[in-house]
């Protein structure tokens, strides 16, 4: 396992860039993919955004000064790319982000790359009712297993703020599922 600092040095050394790119992609592709997928929902969209994220990373690696951790930087680019992707799509269709999200969930049921059961589908619907930041916090804490300390660095929010955001999210989600008679 290459240390982050060594990887940054390799990425910024012209002669070893290709090898370093491969290490970077191998190390982070899955984590970033699932992070993006939780935001954009469809596999094809996640695939596009993932590739764009790495293209951005490679294009800007020389500007990376090491003020934050490499992985924090990657997550921020991935998050930003995913959110920009959604905003652009909503704007192109002249609908709000909420309307787009609703449309996405309706299509999700028939998506070949969604094998969730009725409860999992309802959970996605419940997540969609949350404000954007709470969705991000919930997905990253619940499904992606980040610690509050990691989230604090990634989202530049205090641990206390994140904890309360997460608990509010869980409460809203369980209330939604109870109202829809999905769980007891």
């Amino acid at each position: 396992m290459v240390q982050e600092q060594d990887l940054v040095s390799l990425l910024q050394a012209p002669s070893q860039k290709e090898e370093a790119y491969r290490i970077l992609v191998t190390t982070y592709k899955e984590r970033l993919y699932w992070h993006i997928r939780n935001i954009v929902k469809f596999h094809d969209d996640a695939d596009d955004v993932l590739q764009n994220t790495f293209v951005k990373v490679f294009r800007n690696i020389d500007k990376f000064k090491g003020d934050s951790k490499l992985y924090t930087w990657l997550y921020r680019i991935a998050t930003n790319e995913a959110i920009t992707f959604i905003n652009k799509r909503a704007k192109r269709q002249h609908i709000t982000n909420e309307e787009l999200q609703q449309q996405t969930l309706e299509k999700l049921e028939t998506d070949v790359y969604f094998e969730g059961n009725a409860i999992q589908l309802k959970l996605q619907q419940a997540i969609a009712t949350l404000p954007d930041k709470q969705q991000l916090v919930f997905n990253m804490k619940y499904f992606e297993d980040h610690t509050y300390e990691e989230l604090s660095e990634l989202l530049q929010t205090s641990v206390g703020g994140l904890k309360s955001s997460y608990h509010i999210a869980v409460k809203k989600i369980t209330a939604f599922l109870q109202n829809n008679e999905t769980i007891l």
Partner: protein, 168 residues
């Protein structure tokens, strides 16, 4: 409870025990949620995507998302519109005389656009600025101040190709 029980140096957050039940029941509710999203991926996706990404870095460091024709042409259209504006200013500043000399009106639009597309017109923003007076700059500054934050963010969202700039 006797006070000396808490002399081991350990402390607890304020209202910890009062709030414990609430947190505990929240946790129980959370436990009932499904543990997985239900999202799946095509077989062998992660191996294939790695190759695609590495290939992208070798060929062209361009966006992967396929853009519409209009979007692809947008930078060129902006450039042409800019050059057309420069030409308009030049025409105003240097009125052509009538007569046998070649006048701008006699040149067909197609010829002008072919000329521009061939890259024969090499004008920079500085060249354009040379023909502007102080009051023109004032007018430009004034109009840029009238751009709303909303319009500016819309513009950046649609045209800024480097999302890393928004992060720092």
């Amino acid at each position: 409870m006797e006070k000396n029980k808490y002399t081991n140096g350990f402390k607890i957050p304020e209202n910890y025990f009062e709030e414990f039940e609430t947190h505990m029941f929240d946790k129980l509710k959370e436990e009932q949620l499904p543990k997985a999203t239900g999202f799946v991926i095509p077989d062998g996706y992660f191996d294939a995507v790695e190759e695609k990404i590495i290939e992208n870095t070798k060929t062209s460091p361009l966006k992967v998302i396929h853009k519409s024709k209009t979007q692809k042409l947008r930078p060129t259209l902006y450039r042409i519109a800019g050059i057309a504006a420069v030409l308009a200013v030049l025409i105003l500043l240097y009125p052509f005389e009538n007569g046998n000399a070649i006048s701008f009106e006699k040149i067909s639009e197609a010829a002008v656009s072919e000329y521009i597309q061939d890259g024969a017109l090499d004008l920079t923003a500085d060249d354009f600025a040379m023909y502007l007076q102080d009051e023109d700059f004032d007018a430009l500054m004034q109009s840029s101040e009238e751009i709303s934050v909303e319009n500016m963010s819309d513009y950046l969202l649609n045209n800024l190709d480097d999302s890393t700039l928004l992060l720092e």
